[in-house]
């Protein structure tokens, strides 16, 4: 058998052949990319503001523990009181239908403004808790209010201060956002005094108040 010597030329031939094999393998690998799905798209949102106030867009009332069967749906003011055995709760809700928002929309911000006509003598903390069952201002009583379903916790709270004739604002974005997506998600809010002990009353203007600027107002900055 003839003896083969390792020369530079022979090494080069072997390397060239093996590079060709390598390239062939690589080419075969490129054929596997063809079955992928690719898609890109976008969605543009429309922004706007909707302001709700007045009797056609607002329902409000208050109920009093001292008169458990009484109604106050046509009162021009509503009370929030903390007093053992004589608690008052206020209720307010808004009809969003005039905003013409689709259920695919949402609230960027939602701010409730209430007007305090008579402030308590000492600063109080009032809480806004979503009401999860329906109520009517013409029929809601203290007794009936005990059977309503409420959110497990207050959405927000605010302090009254001690000055009469001032506006107070509260952010309710999360509740209004949910309400836009599901009109049955909630039915307004209960306002109650969560300061603790003490006898204090806060009086707010209602949607029936003769001064339109004092009525409850909900301003929604929305997207759709």
């Amino acid at each position: 058998m003839r003896r083969l010597r390792l020369t530079p030329r022979r090494v080069a031939v072997v390397l060239a052949a093996t590079v060709g094999i390598g390239a062939g393998v690589a080419y075969a690998a490129t054929l596997t990319v063809g079955s992928w799905h690719l898609w890109a798209g976008s969605q543009t949102l429309t922004k706007g503001t909707c302001t709700l106030t007045g009797t056609t867009q607002t329902s409000d009332t208050y109920v009093t523990q001292a008169t458990p069967g009484g109604t106050n749906g046509s009162a021009t003011t509503m009370l929030v009181r903390s007093n053992s055995g004589s608690v008052d709760w206020s209720f307010v809700s808004f009809n969003l239908s005039s905003c013409s928002l689709p259920t695919t929309g949402g609230a960027d911000t939602a701010t409730l403004t209430l007007f305090i006509t008579t402030a308590p003598a000492s600063n109080r903390t009032l809480s806004l808790t979503p009401v999860l069952t329906t109520w009517s201002p013409t029929t809601l009583t203290w007794t009936a209010a005990q059977s309503l379903t409420y959110g497990s916790s207050a959405t927000t709270s605010f302090t009254t201060g001690t000055t009469n004739n001032v506006s107070k604002s509260a952010t309710l974005t999360v509740d209004v956002d949910a309400l836009i997506k599901n009109p049955s998600a909630s039915f307004g809010w209960r306002i109650n005094d969560t300061t603790g002990s003490g006898n204090a009353t806060t009086t707010f203007a209602t949607s029936e108040n003769v001064n339109a600027g004092r009525r409850p107002q909900l301003v929604i900055n929305y997207e759709k």
Binding site: V14, I21, W36, H37, L38, T104, G106, T173, D177
Partner: protein, 129 residues
């Protein structure tokens, strides 16, 4: 024979090396040896739309994309929250699942806190096999 064996050994080692290199850089070696071909890339949907939820502070807590065709099941959906000037405010991704008649994706992390007030739209990217 001893020298031939040595040469073949060197050659096989080189083959292994070049094979690996070729697989990692297929675009650079082929102009004289690769033939042209077509690889089809298709889409499993033609449109998507999203809704989002917010916390009481007004920051986006989650983005929901529903109504995705079942053909997209298992694919990866990327969503970018777009602001003024097409600025990317945040982005996240999820796997298309929860399929019935259609599928959906819920994304809860965007890499940043994003105020819903600043979001003017969404960009979508859908990829998968």
């Amino acid at each position: 024979m001893k020298h031939l064996t040595k040469a073949l050994g060197l050659g096989l080692a080189a083959a292994a090396t070049f094979t690996a290199c070729a697989a990692a850089a297929t675009l650079t070696i082929g102009s004289t040896t690769l033939s042209a071909g077509n690889a089809s890339v298709t889409a499993c949907t033609s449109s998507l739309s999203a809704t989002r939820n917010v916390g009481n502070s007004g920051n986006v807590t989650q983005v929901n994309v529903a109504g995705i065709p079942t053909a997209c099941s298992g694919e990866t959906l990327s969503v970018t929250l777009v602001g003024s000037g097409n600025a990317a405010l945040g982005s996240g991704s999820g796997t298309v699942g929860s399929c019935g008649t259609t599928c959906s994706v819920t994304i809860t992390s965007f890499g940043a806190t994003v105020s819903a007030s600043n979001v003017t739209g969404y960009s979508f990217g859908l990829t998968g096999a």
